[in-house]
């Protein structure tokens, strides 16, 4: 059981949990994720470690509600516990001195690029972050990123804040800006976004690393469910990744594999929403969001 120290909404349907997990915290490197389970009979789901504090023994998770398990996690409050947290898992990001690195994060993908930004900066890179959200309320971790990046460009689909348009639009501007050439791009977020990022950088032959999010079970290499095709070869994202050369990833296959359980996931989510105890708990958590945003 892992004690939650702090729980707060970062955006509508996106919640941050700071959880006590000292062993994970002391071994965390950017790029790592954990496998989380939040009730008996619950699913195991992968979540990126968005931050860690080895002294306090805590890790930070940023969770977007897309189904039953993420909704259960987002109903939790400080003082409660997460049943299982296993990690850190996956290969850490290869932190090198590239020169100018652009990090592109979409939605909760921003939680993946945040620890990368700090690490890349600390080895002497110039770091630019491009982060996207549907509208202003959905842009997350902007202040945190500003503290470690040379420049941060928030983007909103509806133009309500920062650059009006998709992150790829802003990225295109950056890679075409001859005065400040881009040496590497790291990206995390929805699959279509990562695919579009890869398209922008492929033409310019800029090294691009994408953090993939296939469906996982164990996260330790045992099941092969997380397999993705990279450069025509089968790779297990939890052991060989989750970061891969974006120019070689078969994104269409990944998109399709993510739909494998859609009907059953929806049924599970519908059952959860009918559960009165959960409903009451979740609504209480949601009220905090309304209160915090007025």
């Amino acid at each position: 059981m892992f004690l939650i120290h702090e729980a707060k909404w970062l955006a509508p349907r996106v919640r941050q949990l700071i959880v006590e997990a000292p062993r994970v915290a002391s071994h965390h490197q950017p790029g790592h994720f954990v496998i989380v389970r939040c009730h008996y009979d619950g699913e195991r789901i992968p979540l990126t470690i968005a931050d860690s504090d080895p002294k306090a023994g805590t890790i930070t998770l940023v969770i977007q509600i897309v189904g039953a398990t993420t909704e259960r996690l987002c109903a939790l409050e400080a003082g409660e516990h997460v049943l299982d947290i296993a990690g850190p898992l996956g290969k850490p990001t290869e932190i090198e001195k590239f020169g100018h690195v652009v990090l592109v994060g979409g939605g909760v993908g921003t939680a993946v690029i945040y620890p990368q930004a700090g690490a890349l900066k600390s080895v002497g890179n110039k770091v630019t972050a491009v982060i996207g959200g549907r509208s202003k309320a959905y842009v997350i971790l902007e202040d945190e990123l500003k503290a470690v990046c040379d420049a941060v460009y928030p983007c909103t689909d509806d133009g309500s804040y920062g650059y009006g348009g998709f992150v790829t639009g802003k990225l295109e501007e950056l890679v075409n800006d001859g005065s400040n050439p881009v040496d590497a791009v790291l990206t995390a977020g929805p699959v279509p976004m990562m695919k579009a990022v890869a398209k922008v950088t492929r033409e310019k032959s800029i090294l691009t690393i994408a953090s993939l999010n296939p469906i996982m079970v164990d996260g330790t290499g045992m099941c092969g469910g997380c397999r993705v095709t990279v450069d025509g070869k089968q790779r297990f994202a939890c052991v060989h990744g989750p970061e891969f050369d974006a120019h070689k990833v078969d994104f269409d296959e990944l998109t399709d594999r993510l739909t494998a359980y859609r009907d059953q996931e929806e049924a599970t989510w519908a059952r959860l929403r009918k559960d009165p105890a959960h409903k009451c708990k979740f609504e209480a958590a949601e009220r905090e969001l309304k209160e915090s945003t007025g």
Partner: protein
């Protein structure tokens, strides 16, 4: 009783759930023997002086001894003898391939059938579980601490043996539940999870600590365990690991599973409970499984229980070469599993929407013997045919998991990535031992347990010498 009288008693049978009934549920197939039946079976044992069965047992159970105690009705004694050598008898009594071990060499097998050693082992374990409060009494502590990586049969056995000697033992397990393959792989209908739990609890009662959600190589390295976390020795038993896929076209399709994933979803994650579990598994009426081992049998029988009709097993060699336990093959057939022998899948077909719609197979014939001494299956040209299915499960083996070994580069590996050990189970790093599937590649529960025992005695000697 005179030997001639013993010889007259026929081998007793194991009561089973009816095939038609059990093919639709996940309860255990074998129901266990009644006391009188077990005693009668025990009377068949000739109590050989130089018992051939004992060397046939990888953990040296005093077979003649415990069987004699059953025959005498002294079950506490039978249990003492059993637990002295084997800390997981409820498990081994259910999953060991006795027909190639103790029962193969039993003298009674020469004329008729062997003593049902496996069934009697199970009988004693079940009795002990129900009738004994404390199965072991721990000795005074030695002050030495040992870390064990992985809670499969190798890790559990090593833990039990070390605890018997008074060492402080902590098992680190990557998953959220202890047991390794015993909980994520082998299904409920063959090995009820309650049995695993109670044998694990018995170890806990002896003082063995089990910490789940810890991945050695990531949460801690082996070096950290020794240098920072205060352990005097480490036993690595992290199992086999990564499933092998055949590498045929179509493996990215939805509906293609490794047996590990299929079984983990259904067993460990509880997908067999339907709405009771959050973890889904694709539902399908036609399922094809490829492979000939216990894993393949478990996958296909699981599919059958989830409603597959037909549930087909394809295997590229002949029936005689199937590595699965004979009882599993028999049970599978009784339950209506279709065995299609000398058949090899060559391509998985998609329906255009990313789902599996069938598998193209090729018929095989047996040619010259290969390296393993078995006749090599060779494809018959032009024999391709299609089996419709919506789930295709590959159960063709696993390869070594690199998570731990890559974080410990000093650890000497063989060319397949398996850890090399000496006759005491010690690796190239002093104080670090290994055993089970990570050393052998995919093997058996009892061989993993044998390794756990060897390593425990190796570790004990190492610690006694001040290591």
């Amino acid at each position: 009783m005179k030997p001639a009288e013993r010889m007259k008693i026929p081998r007793q049978t194991m009561p089973e759930q009816e095939a038609e009934v059990r093919a639709r549920n996940f309860s255990e197939v074998n129901l266990g023997m009644a006391l009188e039946v077990a005693r009668r079976e025990a009377d068949r044992c000739l109590r050989c002086k130089d018992a051939k069965c004992v060397p046939g047992c990888p953990v040296d159970v005093d077979i003649a001894g415990f069987i004699a105690a059953i025959a005498d009705g002294d079950l506490p004694k039978a249990a003492d003898i059993m637990y002295e050598a084997n800390v997981l008898p409820g498990i081994t009594g259910r999953v060991c391939p006795q027909e190639t071990q103790c029962e193969e060499v039993c003298v009674r097998a020469k004329k008729g059938s062997a003593v049902a050693i496996g069934y009697l082992e199970r009988f004693v374990a079940d009795w002990a579980r129900e009738n004994r409060e404390q199965i072991f009494t721990p000795p005074p502590p030695t002050g030495k601490a040992v870390a064990i990586v992985g809670s499969g049969p190798a890790g559990l056995t090593c833990a039990g043996e070390l605890a018997k000697k008074g060492h402080e033992v902590t098992i680190f397990e990557a998953l959220h539940k202890p047991g390794g393959v015993l909980v994520y792989g082998i299904p409920e209908f063959r090995l009820p999870k309650e049995i695993v739990k109670s044998e694990v609890d018995a170890l806990r009662q002896m003082g063995v600590k089990i910490e789940c959600n810890v991945i050695i190589g990531l949460t801690y390295t082996v070096t950290e365990l020794l240098e920072k976390e205060g352990f005097d020795a480490v036993f690595i038993a992290n199992g086999a690991g990564l499933p092998i896929f055949q590498g045929i076209p179509g493996e990215h399709l939805k509906g293609v599973y490794s047996a590990n994933e299929y079984l983990t979803r259904v067993n460990l994650m509880g997908a067999f409970k339907g709405e009771g579990s959050d973890t889904p598994v694709i539902k399908s009426t036609q399922v094809v499984v490829v492979g000939g081992g216990n894993t393949a049998m478990d996958a296909v029988r699981t599919a059958r229980r989830l409603g597959a009709d037909p549930a087909t097993l394809v295997y590229r060699r002949s029936r005689a070469e199937m590595p699965a336990r004979i009882e599993e093959i028999k049970h599978a057939e009784e339950e209506g599993v279709v065995l299609d022998i000398l058949v090899n899948p060559v391509e998985i077909l998609g329906d255009g929407d990313g789902w599996v719609r069938g598998v193209v197979c090729q018929r095989m014939e047996l040619g010259e013997p290969d390296d393993s001494g078995r006749r090599r299956p060779v494809p018959i040209p032009g024999s391709e045919f299609e089996i419709p299915c919506q789930i295709f499960v590959e159960a063709i083996g696993t390869r070594a998991n690199p998570l731990l070994t890559q974080s410990t580069p000093e650890l000497k590996l063989n060319k397949w990535g398996n850890i090399e050990v000496d006759e005491h189970g010690m690796t190239s790093i002093p104080g670090v031992f290994a055993g089970g599937d990570i050393v052998r590649g995919g093997a058996t529960v009892i061989l993993a347990m044998g390794d756990g025992k060897v390593a425990a005695s190796g570790i004990h000697d190492y610690l006694s010498k001040g290591g």
